[in-house]
Amino acid sequence: MRIVLEIWRQRDPWADGRFVRYEVGDVNEHMSFLEMLDVLNQALVRRGEMPVAFDSDCREGICGTCGFLVNGEAHGPLRNATICQTHMRHFHDGDVLRLEPWRAAAFPVLRDLVVDRGALDRIVAAGGYVSVRTGGAPDANALPVPKTDADRAMEAAACIGCGACVAACPNASAALFTGAKITHLSLLPQGQPERPLRVRSMTEQARAEGFGHCTSIGECAAVCPAGIQLEVIARMNRDFLRAAFSRAAGEPLTVLPVTSPMRRYEAQPPGARETADPAEEPAER
C-alpha cells in the first residue's frame, strides 16, 4: 500500500519546525509503523537527505522510548499499544498521516519527532523510590504483602514512562505518570514511611518542570499503552491531602533544579556548541 506522511521536521531546539510531506510506496501490511519509517529514512539517506529523527529502542513495547502523535493521537490509533507495536495492517492504502512530536512545554523538541523527557526522570528522582541501601534488607518473606495489593501495585508499576499521557493531556499534565509511581509505592508496606514526603516532592517537581494540573479529562488513560488507570491520579490526590495534614507536612522537599538540555543550550548559542566546555564539568561538591 501507499502511505502519505506529513512529518514535523525541526533541525534543533532553536529552529522553527514545519510539516514536510513524504510518500512511502510499497508499504507491507506486516511492517511495524517504525519499520515503515525506517524504509522512508533509508531512502532519504540514499538521496543524501537527513532522515527523520525519531526515538525507539526495544521495539517490543516495553522500554517506553518511542512515541509521537499520529493524526493527533499519541502512539497512533491502536489502543494499549506503543507505536512500535502498531503494524501497518491497521492503516489503509492512500492514508494521509500527520506525525508530530509530543507537545508539552516540559518536553522540548530536540529534533523532528525526538523530545527531551528528562523531566520525568527528575520527578522520579524527587521521591519515586523506597530509601533502602544495598545490603541489609530483611528476608524477602519477612514482610507479607496481600496478593491483591501486590497485583494492584504491579498494575501501576507497569508504566513505561513514554510520556504519551502528557502529550494527550490538554493541560500537558504528568499526573498519570506521577500518580502511577505514587500508587505503586503507596500500596506496598515498603512504601509507607516516605509516603507523605514522596507525594509532596514528586508533585512539586512536576509543577516546577512546567507540567499542567490534572482537570480529570481522562485522555491520558485513554492513550496509555501500559493500561494505567485514571484511579492512580485519585490515589495521588488523596495521598497529597493526607500528607498536607500529616506530621511530615513541614519536612523540606527533595526537589531538583530543572535542567533540561534546552536550558543548557539556551546559555550557549548553536555556534559555540562544537567544543567541550570545561565550565560544564560537574562542580566539585
Binding site: 539517506v45 540514499r46 526515538d55 517490543e60 528528562g118 528522582a125 523510590y129 544495598t134 504491579m154
Partner: protein, 636 residues
C-alpha cells in the same frame, strides 16, 4: 600474558567470604574523593552506580538512551532465579551452582558461579525491600515458578515483566542518588573511547548524542555494563540501539575478549516477515509446554496448516527426542528447526519458520485454561503477526538472544586493564557456553549490587596518582574520536549503515549462527573483510557530527561490529568442539548432540587485539571442575 583469575584459595563455599575479608577498604572520609564512571545503566550498571554512590563515591553514569530506565534489561520477561528454597522442594545454593555449571556445558568458572548462587538470595531481599512488585501467593508470601527445565521452583517473577520491574527498582535507587548529589547522570551520551593513563583505565571520551559535543570524563575507575553484542547478527531480540562499541573500544585498548563465539539462540521467536525487519521478538519458551512443533512432511507443501492431515505432518522434536519432545533445550530445538527449514520444509515467508500448534491443547484443556496460561502471549503474537493463534498455529523461528562471551574479567570482575571493571552480559564470566533461563537478571544484579561495590574499593584503596582531563591522554582520545567521526562522515558513498549491517548479519547468521563448520567459518572470515571494505568505501552518512545524527550513531556501531564479527568467527573456528551455544557440525555424537572435547578445550579463550589487520593472540585460562564432575549432557 598469563591469565590469573585471582580465585581465592579455600573451599568453594568460603571463597567469596575470604575474598571480601582480604579486600582493602577505602576510608569512609576519602570515598568522596574518588570518582567512578559507570557506562551503561541496565540492571548491572544502575545497581552498581546506585550502590557505589550509597557508599560515598562520586559517580557519573552514561547511557545512549534518553533515560537510564530504558536499558534493554527492561525487556526480560521470564524471571529471576534465586536459591531461596521457599518452596521446600530441595533447592539450595549448591543446587543452583550445580545447575548453572552443568547448564553452561562446563565452560564457566566454578568459583564465580558459586558466588552468583550465594548472592542470588540477597538480590531477592534487596529488590523486595525496594518495592519491586513480585508475584505473591494469597498468604502474602512470594510466588515461584519453574523455568528452563530446572527440577525445582526457584524463579521469582513480576507478571511477564520481571526485567522491567527489577530495572525500575535499580533505576529508582539510582535516581535517589542523583537527588543526593552523588550521581551525575549523562543520558543520550555514548562512550566512544576508553582513556588509559600509565596502563590504567582513567576515563572515557563521550559524544553527546544531542549536540555532538565530544567530551572527556576522568575517573579513578571505569565500570562497563553495556550489555551483549547479539546485534552483531543485525537481527536479534536485542533493542535496536544495543551495541558493542564500549567493550570493543576497551578491547582495542588492551582488554582481552573472552569466548566471543558463545552466542545463545532462542528457539521461540516470531519469524521475520520481510527485508524491512528491524528486530525479532521473543515469545516465552513456556509456550512449548503445551504447543506442538511441526512442519509439513513433504517439502514445498503449500497448503494452509489446517488442511494438512496429521499423517502428513512431521512433529520432528517428538520424533527426534522422544523423551523431552517439544521441551528439548534451547540449542537443540533451535538446531532442529534449522535442519527442517534447510530441507525446504519451513513455513511462512522465505520458508523460515515452523509451526507451534495449540490445536491439541485446545481440544484437551479448552480455550479458557490456555488463555489463562498464555493469553498475553497469544495477544502479543496476534498484534505483531495479525494471526490469531486460536485459529491457526503460531509460526516461530530461532533468533539470537544473548551472548555469553564478553570482556575477560578476573574474580573481582576486573578486566586485563587495571581499573576497568566489566559487569553483566558485557563480561564473560558466569554462564559458560550456555545461559540458563532466568539467570541473566540474577547475574546483572549480583555483579552490580553485591560484587563490584567491594572490588572497586579494593582497587581504589591501593592508591594511584590523581589524573584529570587536562592529561594529554584525553586530548589523544578526543582526537581519535573526532577523526573517526570525520572519516565516517566523509566517505560519501551510496550505501546506508543499516544496509551494510544487514549484509554482515545475513552472512554471520548463515555461517556462524546455529551450526558452524570449518568451511562456513572460513567463508565468513573471507566475507567479513569484504563487507568492511565496502563499509569504509561506500558508506553514506548524511549531516554533520555537531547535531543529533542517528545515522552517524548507527554507522559508528556497525564499524565496531564489523571488527567484532571477525573475532567471533576466529574464536568459533579455533574451538574444535561443540559446547552449549557453540555447535560445530564436525563435532557431534551419532545422535547429533554437541560433543565437547574437555581434554583440549576446557579453557576460556581470551583474545588480545594486536591492531587492525593483525591476527589476534589467544590467551588461555584453564578451567578446573573440582565440585561438578565433567559429564555429557543428554536430553534423549
Amino acid at each position: 600474558m598469563p591469565l590469573d583469575a585471582k580465585i581465592p584459595a579455600g573451599p568453594i563455599e568460603q571463597k567469596w567470604e575470604r575474598r571480601k575479608y582480604e579486600l582493602k577498604l577505602v576510608n569512609p572520609a576519602n570515598k568522596r574523593r574518588h570518582r567512578i564512571l559507570v557506562v551503561g545503566t541496565g540492571l548491572a550498571g544502575a545497581s552498581a552506580a546506585a550502590s557505589l554512590a550509597e557508599l560515598g563515591y562520586e559517580v557519573e553514569t552514561f547511557c545512549y538512551q534518553d533515560s537510564p530506565r530504558r536499558a534493554h534489561s527492561i525487556a526480560a520477561q521470564g524471571g529471576i532465579n534465586a536459591a531461596k528454597n521457599y518452596q521446600n522442594d530441595g533447592d539450595s545454593v549448591a543446587r543452583l551452582f550445580y545447575d548453572t555449571v552443568k547448564g553452561g556445558d562446563f565452560r564457566s568458572r566454578e568459583a564465580n558461579v558459586h558466588r552468583l548462587a550465594e548472592l542470588s538470595v540477597n538480590i531477592i531481599d534487596q529488590c523486595a525491600a525496594q518495592g519491586v512488585p513480585f508475584a505473591r501467593e494469597y498468604g502474602g508470601l512470594l510466588a515461584n515458578r519453574s523455568f528452563g527445565g530446572a527440577l525445582v521452583s526457584r524463579t521469582f517473577y513480576a507478571r511477564g515483566q520481571t526485567g522491567q520491574q527489577l530495572l525500575l527498582g535499580a533505576y529508582q535507587a539510582l535516581q535517589r542518588q542523583v537527588t543526593a548529589g552523588k550521581v551525575v547522570s549523562h543520558p543520550r551520551c555514548e562512550m566512544l573511547e576508553l582513556v588509559l593513563v600509565d596502563g590504567r583505565a582513567r576515563g572515557v571520551v563521550t559524544r553527546d548524542l544531542v549536540t555532538g559535543a565530544v567530551r572527556s570524563h576522568a575517573g579513578d575507575a571505569v565500570v562497563l555494563a553495556t550489555g551483549g553484542y547479539g546485534n552483531v547478527f543485525y537481527l536479534s531480540t536485542n533493542a535496536r540501539g544495543c551495541n558493542a562499541t564500549a567493550v570493543w573500544r576497551a578491547h582495542r585498548k588492551g582488554a582481552l575478549f573472552a569466548n566471543p563465539c558463545y552466542t545463545q539462540i532462542h528457539p521461540t521467536c516470531i519469524p521475520r516477515s520481510g527485508e524491512y525487519q528491524s528486530k525479532l521478538t521473543l515469545m516465552s519458551e513456556s509456550l512449548r509446554n503445551d504447543g506442538r512443533v511441526w512442519v509439513p512432511a513433504r517439502r514445498g507443501d503449500g497448503r494452509p496448516p489446517g488442511q494438512i492431515p496429521d499423517a502428513e505432518r512431521d512433529y520432528y522434536l517428538e520424533r527426534m527426542y522422544p523423551t523431552y519432545g517439544n521441551l528439548a533445550p534451547r540449542d537443540i530445538a533451535s538446531r532442529a528447526a534449522k535442519t527442517v527449514c534447510d530441507e525446504g520444509r519451513g513455513v511462512g515467508p522465505g520458508g523460515l519458520g515452523v509451526y507451534l500448534d495449540f490445536r491439541d491443547a485446545f481440544a484437551r484443556l479448552g480455550r479458557r485454561v490456555l488463555d489463562e496460561r498464555y493469553g498475553n502471549l497469544f495477544e502479543m503474537y496476534e498484534r505483531i503477526t495479525g494471526d490469531d493463534p486460536h485459529e491457526v498455529p503460531m509460526r516461530i523461528y530461532p533468533a539470537v538472544h544473548y551472548t555469553m562471551g564478553g570482556l575477560w574479567v578476573d574474580y573481582d570482575l576486573q578486566s586485563t586493564i587495571p581499573g576497568l571493571f566489566v559487569l553483566g552480559e558485557a563480561n564473560f564470566s558466569d554462564h559458560g557456553a550456555n545461559r540458563l533461563g532466568a539467570s541473566a537478571l540474577m547475574q546483572g544484579l549480583a555483579d552490580g549490587y553485591f560484587v563490584v561495590p567491594y572490588t572497586v574499593g579494593d582497587h581504589l584503596a591501593r592508591g594511584q596518582a590523581k589524573v584529570d582531563t587536562s592529561h594529554a591522554a584525553f586530548r589523544d582520545a578526543e582526537r581519535e574520536v573526532a577523526a573517526r567521526t570525520a572519516r565516517l562522515l566523509s566517505i560519501g558513498g551510496r550505501r546506508t549503515a543499516d544496509d551494510l549491517h544487514r549484509e554482515l548479519g545475513t552472512l554471520l547468521w548463515a555461517d556462524a549462527g546455529m551450526a558452524r563448520s570449518r568451511a562456513s567459518l572460513e567463508h565468513a572470515l573471507a566475507g567479513i573483510p569484504r563487507i568492511r571494505e565496502a563499509f569504509w568505501s561506500d558508506l553514506r552518512v548524511p549531516g554533520t557530527g555537531e547535531e543529533l545524527n542517528q545515522e552517524l550513531e548507527r554507522a559508528g556501531r556497525v564499524a565496531d561490529f564489523l571488527e567484532l564479527a571477525e573475532l567471533l568467527c576466529r574464536d568459533a573456528l579455533h574451538r574444535e568442539e561443540s559446547c552449549g551455544g557453540h555447535f560445530r557440525v564436525e563435532h557431534q555424537t551419532p545422535d547429533g548432540e554437541a560433543l565437547r572435547d574437555d581434554a583440549r578445550f576446557a579453557y576460556v579463550a581470551a583474545w588480545e587485539w594486536r591492531g587492525p589487520g593483525e591476527a589476534p593472540v589467544l590467551h588461555q585460562e584453564p578451567l578446573a571442575f573440582e565440585y561438578v564432575p565433567l559429564q555429557q549432557r543428554s536430553y534423549k
